[in-house]
């Protein structure tokens, strides 16, 4: 079966559950209980969203969320937002190091959080566009959208890690 790509307004999405959506085509075909998942959770946040049913079978791929109808787009974004918890670090409030383990207190878009970074070399990853991905000792993930836009103090804490 050829993969079904959704480009724009041929399908409409409605919210079903926290992470689930229903998909309805203009010809009336309807598929219920689909879970949108990013195919590129690191490198492409809005592109290539896979729609899986409850058994994990893929029914379609949205090429680009931005090209959907506004209400559908909103539904998909909400659902993705629920599924993917990658707090965006807006500031590093405090930083200490003991026994080789970094302890950060950070402000994120989800509130303040303390995290431990076990290996500063493998758990802090700097991408080319200034994005930094962080993984803490509990395998939770965080993201700094653009480190160059951080405040002075945060940059100071971050300086030796990038």
């Amino acid at each position: 079966m050829a993969r079904l790509y959704i480009d724009g307004d041929e399908a409409r999405f409605t919210k079903k559950d926290i992470c689930l959506v229903d998909m309805e085509f203009y010809d009336g075909r309807k598929i219920e209980d689909l879970e949108p998942r990013r195919l590129f959770p690191v490198s492409g946040l809005m592109k290539y969203i896979s729609l899986l049913d409850l058994d994990g079978k893929e029914h379609a791929i949205i090429r680009n969320v931005d090209s959907l109808m506004p209400e559908s787009k909103e539904v998909i974004l909400q659902s993705l937002n629920e599924y993917y918890l990658i707090p965006k670090i807006t500031a590093i409030v405090d930083c200490s190091e003991k026994y080789g383990i970094l302890k950060w207190t950070v402000d994120t878009d989800r509130g303040r959080q303390s995290l431990r970074i076990r290996n500063r070399f493998s758990d802090i990853k700097v991408l080319y566009d200034g994005r930094i991905l962080v993984r803490d000792s509990n395998d939770n993930r965080y993201e700094i959208p653009d480190y160059r836009k951080l405040d002075k103090k945060s940059l100071f804490f971050l300086n030796s890690e990038i």
Partner: protein
Amino acid sequence: MEIETVLTNKEVPENIRAKFEENVEEGDQLLFIIVGDLTLKSKYGVTSLAVTEKKFMVYDPTLEGELEIYNHSDVLEAKVKRMYGNARLNIIFKDGEGKAGEKKDVFRFTYSVATLCDMAALFIENISAGKKLEEEYDVVHATYEKMMNVCPKCGRTLVRQGAECINCQSKSKIAGKLIKYIKPETKVLVICLFLSIVTTAMALVPPYITGTLVDTVLPNKDRDSLMWIVAALFGTYILQFGIGAIRSYMLRISGDRIVASLRNDVYRKSQSLPMKFYDKTSTGSVINRISGDTATLQSFMLRISQEVVVQFFMLIGIVVIMFILNWRLTLLSLIPVPIVVVGAKIFGRKILPFYRKIWRRWAGVSSVLTDTIPCVKVIKSFAGENRTVEKFERYNDEWLKVDISAAKIATAFPQVVSFFVTCGSLLIWSVGGSWVLSGTGGLTTGLLVSFISYASMFYGPVNFFAYLNDSYQQALSAAEKVLDILDAEDEPDFNKGNCPPIKGKIEFRNVNFSFDRTKKVLSDVNLVFQPGEIVGIVGTTGSGKSTLINLFMRFYDNYEGEILVDDVNIRDIDLQYFRSQIGFVQQDPMMFSDTIYNNIAYGKPDAHVEEVIHAAEIANAHEFIARQPDAYDSMLGERGIGLSGGERQRVSIARAVLKNPSLLIFDEATAAVDSETEHLIQEAIERLISGRTTLMIAHRLSTLRKADRIIVVDKGEIIENGSPEELMAMKGKYYKLVQIQTMADQVKKSKEEENFE
């Protein structure tokens, strides 16, 4: 049931605990509380899940009334749904009471408490299903206990409860750890130290003599004394440099011995590290540490054990002499000292981030190396040479950029400081010179000359101590990396010497496993295999078959539940003995670059030649080996280059045969070969397995025709388990797989027949 305390993973805030306690009725009691960190609205905040004997309660500030209460008995299913960076406890309620089949997310959390919530979900489900409270509570208790086996300082999981955290203990005792390597060299080092004190003393003589030369000998035109003094200087130089030569020779050899033994230890250690370590650390960086960082450390240890003492004596000696010569000038020459000290401090703070950055960039460069050089065939076949070169250049440029900016600081800074120090000597010249001219304080020209010499020598040790911290930092980062290996936990092996005979009963009890917390790879595996049973393990790729074997081989230890052999927990058996009892044939058999003979004999180095040949015969390998020009002496390249996939596979079977193991494990031993070779391997395997418990992972079900029992793994769960006939009758997944494959075989057969016509 009586419980001692309510189990918790963290301090439960007083108000939350009070809320829970209010809602516990007579005859019920709180069992455990999980303190979470994420609200249902996906914001950070303190939440809690409390479980009692009869119900569970969720505290979440975003809930209406902040508290919701559910009865275990209403629950049909409780599952943890893992998402990305967070997970939810999802409940499906039983029919009735208007809740028919209702689904609800009741608790949300990040991965920090995911394991506990898994356990809670299972507990709730099992209690609702009417299982025994005591038994379920024991599981809960064990999970908490395991979870609490963390170092209070750094939060790492400890090997066992109360064990000293290797991580924290070491960083504070780095010096102590390294002294172990210096100790055998103590004698030599003490001699060297003594010699260097002598040379230091010698170095202090010439300036004094020059002073006399200027003050008395030259003005008096005393040729005899001049000759004597020159001779005396010559003598001191001979002593100074002669002894210096001997000393550096001795230092060199003892340094070599230190680094050699350090390297040996690191290598030995690298062999006993668990697979978990190698999953996370690139082999390139391990190799780097064994070959490069040990050398950095060695030079630092010598520095500490020698230079510090020497420079200290030098400093004291010079200051004393200077004070004796002229205390006023001495005070004058101390003026630049604070500049040096402060300068070095600033320098250290500025340069440390750069060391880290450089290391990071360098790790990038070497990762490209270790990635691409072994894959050169892939690169060439995809014409990717230019791309790899570009990638390498990009990483190398990054390194260059950082190293250049570090170079600015690393070179300019000390120069600026030296400049100020040198200007200090101008101060001595101008003040001291005018004193000589005016005859103040009895200062003579000679005295001034020798004083200036001492003053310039004086800044040597000052600089040394000022920058000691810096070189200490540099060594520290090398030490960190070396100790990272030296101190890493060994594969757990706490029962050395416990070598019970192994008959071959294998049991998995409630085994759960995930490589990292984000994805469960095996869930609730329960299996029993009888001695001598031949078990086929089937399932789609990625379903967890190899992982099951990896756990059994004890490559990974952090699973929950128990694995037993002959009713003994495998953790209680001597590790090396245990593995020596298993013949493991891997999916992609690794060969050493050695002769075929040695590759087979690897499992039993003292094997008799004929045993090896016999093993090769059983493995259907003898014939093709004999056909090689060098036969058993054929040298293999790296990773077995020079043999085809099927040949390598047979050599690896021969290797396993030779060990005469009690258990046999084949992980897709025939996946990568044609049907004829498969047939040969199949024969070999069948010859081998008689009477031994055998686990056989296979894609081609034809391989499993001798199996007594088949288990089907799907997404980490055992979904079918029984004799092939039973499974066929069940018409489940196995039945489907068989159908598909016979169909494929028929198609193939008819194709072949077509071709022959």
